[in-house]
């Protein structure tokens, strides 16, 4: 297996995540898409670490996982609060910042 295969996989996962972020109307779905995109990055980091024999990439991946967990925790908490206030988590309805 060469590096290109991993990179292609990471690009595919990233694209799927991006697609999810762009098309999902549910805030939880958008968060899931973001998770996919972050994990695509993790794949890239780990693949490069493996093929370049440099452990820095692995350590970065570990950091990313930790941060992702925190991000999801905060993100889901916000979604729950929004749901309590607005009784909906549809992203189209949450347009208070519209110009």
């Amino acid at each position: 297996m060469n590096l290109n295969a991993y990179l292609t996989l990471a690009a595919l996962v990233f694209a799927i995540g991006l697609f999810g972020v762009l098309t999902r109307r549910n805030a939880v779905g958008i968060l899931l898409g973001i998770e996919l995109m972050l994990n695509a990055v993790n794949i890239n980091l780990v693949a490069f670490a493996r093929f370049h024999g440099d452990l820095a990439g692995v350590i970065f991946a570990l950091f990313t996982i930790a941060i992702t967990v925190a991000e999801v925790a905060v993100g889901l908490a916000i979604v729950i609060v929004i749901f309590r206030v607005r009784r909906t988590v549809e992203a189209d309805r949450l347009d208070l910042l519209r110009g």
Binding site: L22, I30, A91, L94, D95, L96, R98
Partner: protein
């Protein structure tokens, strides 16, 4: 400071002090009658000082530096006291004092604050007029000249709640400004040619024939324009009849005795300069005589007692100008003084009549002599003086003017002035017969005015008689003219009186049929329309000034404002369009980021190399 100067300074300073006190101390001004007392006291003291100055024959000429410049001051201020100005001082302070006393009774219905305002203006006027009279330089004269114009404006518009009074004030201000524009341009041109504003320096040079300036004629003509506006000469006379919207005592003081004579005073004062330009002087005389006749014809058809007097003032100012133009400044100035006294008397008498019957229309008066015998007597004394009946004051001064004009070989002017003598007697006695005799129309019971009004009337009437007797004993001045002059002018005046008597008292001549005979009918038609001059000015104002204002308004509205509005409108529109890009939906922003990154990638890959 030497003694010769302190009294004239006091004459000038007392009304100014009264004005300052009234203008700055609001409770004093709002007290009304007390403010009047302050102003009257100042005028009375000024009159005493002026009498001393005049009887001593004080001569003084003092100047102080005003506008500093390299090599001596550019302009000076000071006092010039000579027989001319000290006689004016007495006239101004006397009429001013009497008018202020008279006003106390005439305006007794006014609210206290507005009465205080009235006396503030009166004091300012007295100060300004005295300053004008004492001015030794053109520029100082111009400053006071404008100040009296301002006071005239303020006092014509004293009842500013009435639109007609406010309009008349603006009209008077505008039209006199037209003349003043010429005056200031003339002064500045004279200064740039000679380097001095001072009368005495200019006269000295004129005497040494060292005043051969290029365009002196134009300069003197421009200076004369100021006098045309102020002294209501044709064609700028139209403001004076409208100025009658002010209170009657104001008309007596400003628009008969003092301010309007400032133009005549100016021409008399700078006579040594006018003598150098005979063409302008001839114009002054011809315009004066024409004004006298024109105004007299308009007075014959007017039914408002104050406007009749206003036209007669214009007419008499024409006489003075005619004499000044004919090279008889003495006669001109004598008539100025006598006219100041008896015209103030006539105006104050008219004020007493208006006070009693509550109308200005002479056709709604009648039979007033029985109700107001004292007013009637003094009014008839003033009328006889104005008509030129000996031995009253007006006879001798008018005589001197006619003689001066005759001796100057100004035949046309003389003919016009002689005809005016006839018309003057006619229109004044028309007023007397309609108002004081005949059937009584007036409703209610007209009564004699209080003593504060009768006192000034009797004093002025006595002065009219006494000055006349004094002039008669002294031989009537330096101009005697041919021997036939006095009988002819008296005959003309008597003819006018007789015609008025036959028309309005006996009813022998029907006024309607009189005005239907050919030459009279044409003049009657024109005079009733004021020779179309008011219409002409109104047309010029509407067509020219308003048209120009509209053009400027259009440029301001559509070019200057338009450009700014265009920019601001497109800023708003642009903002509105860009606003719509901020949808508030997070996914739209993610789209933006994603496509932006994609674009950057593609660009970095293919185009950047």
């Amino acid at each position: 400071m030497d003694g010769a100067l302190s009294l004239p300074l006091l004459v000038l300073g007392l009304p100014f002090a009264a004005f300052l006190a009234l203008a700055l101390v609001a409770p004093l001004r709002r007290a009304g009658r007390l403010a009047g007392g302050v102003s009257i006291a100042a005028s009375g003291a000024a009159l005493l000082c002026a009498l001393v100055v005049w009887s001593d024959g004080t001569r003084a000429d003092a100047t102080w530096a005003w506008i500093p410049a390299d090599g001596g001051p550019m302009a000076t201020v000071g006092l010039l006291v000579d027989p001319l100005s000290s006689a004016m001082l007495v006239l101004v302070t006397l009429v001013s004092l009497l008018v202020q006393v008279y006003s106390l009774a005439y305006l007794h219905d006014e609210r206290a604050p507005s009465l205080g305002r009235y006396y503030t203006y009166q004091s300012l006027f007295a100060f300004s007029m005295l300053g004008l009279v004492l001015a030794p330089t053109f520029i100082q004269m111009f400053v006071f000249w404008e100040l009296v114009g301002l006071c005239s404006y303020l006092l014509i518009g004293y009842w500013y709640e009435r639109p007609s009074a406010a309009n008349a004030a603006v009209k008077a201000f505008w039209i006199t400004k037209l003349g003043d524009l010429g005056f200031i341009v003339g002064i500045v041109m004279l200064w740039s040619a000679t380097g001095t504003f001072e009368f005495q320096a200019l006269f000295a040079r004129a005497q040494e024939h060292a005043l051969a300036i290029e365009g002196l004629g134009t300069i003197m003509f421009l200076i004369y324009l100021g006098a045309v506006g102020k002294s209501a000469q044709f064609p700028l006379h139209v403001w004076l009849p409208d100025a009658m919207e002010g209170p009657t005592p104001v008309s007596a003081l400003i628009h008969a005795a003092t301010m309007v004579t400032a133009g005549v005073f100016l021409v008399t004062r700078v006579q040594p300069l006018f003598v150098l330009v005979p063409d302008v002087l001839a114009l002054v005389g011809a315009v004066g005589a024409f004004t006298a006749l024109l105004a007299a014809s308009m007075a014959c058809v007017e039914s408002d007692i104050k406007r009749v007097l206003a036209y007669s003032t214009v007419s008499q100012l024409g006489y003075m100008m005619a004499a000044a133009g004919a090279g008889a400044p003495y006669a001109s100035f004598l008539h100025l003084l006598t006219h100041g006294v008896f015209k103030a008397l006539l105006f104050l008498g008219a004020g007493a009549v208006i006070h009693a019957v509550g109308t200005n229309d002479i056709f709604r008066m009648g039979g007033l002599f029985r109700a107001l015998p004292q007013t009637g007597i003094v009014f008839i004394v003033g009328t006889l003086a104005l008509a030129g009946v000996p031995p009253l004051a007006g006879f001798f001064s008018k005589e001197a003017i006619l003689a001066g004009v005759w001796e100057a070989d100004m035949t046309w002017s003389f003919a016009m002035l002689a005809l005016t003598v006839f018309l003057t007697a006619f229109y004044m006695f028309r007023v007397v017969f309609l108002a004081f005799f005949g059937r009584a129309h007036a409703a209610g019971h007209p009564h004699e005015p209080p003593w504060a009004m009768r006192g000034p009337l009797w004093l002025l009437a006595a002065l009219t008689v006494l000055i006349g007797l004094r002039l008669g004993l002294a031989g009537g001045g330096e101009h005697h003219g041919p021997a036939w002059l006095a009988p002819v002018s008296v005959a003309l005046a008597a003819g006018g009186i007789a015609l008025a008597w036959a028309t309005y008292q006996r009813g022998v001549v029907d006024p309607a049929r009189l005005s239907a005979v050919f030459p009279v009918s044409a003049i009657d038609f024109l005079a009733r329309r004021r020779y179309g001059l008011d219409a002409l000015y109104a047309g010029l104002y509407r067509g020219f000034i308003l048209g120009f204002s509209r053009l400027i308004g259009w440029i301001d509205r559509y070019l200057v404002d338009g450009l700014l509005n265009f920019v601001s409108a497109w800023t708003l529109r642009g903002g509105d369009l860009l606003r719509r890009t901020q949808s508030g939906r997070p996914q739209d922003y993610v789209y933006g980021v994603a496509f932006g990154v994609l674009f950057l990638l593609v660009w970095a890959q293919w185009w950047s190399r």
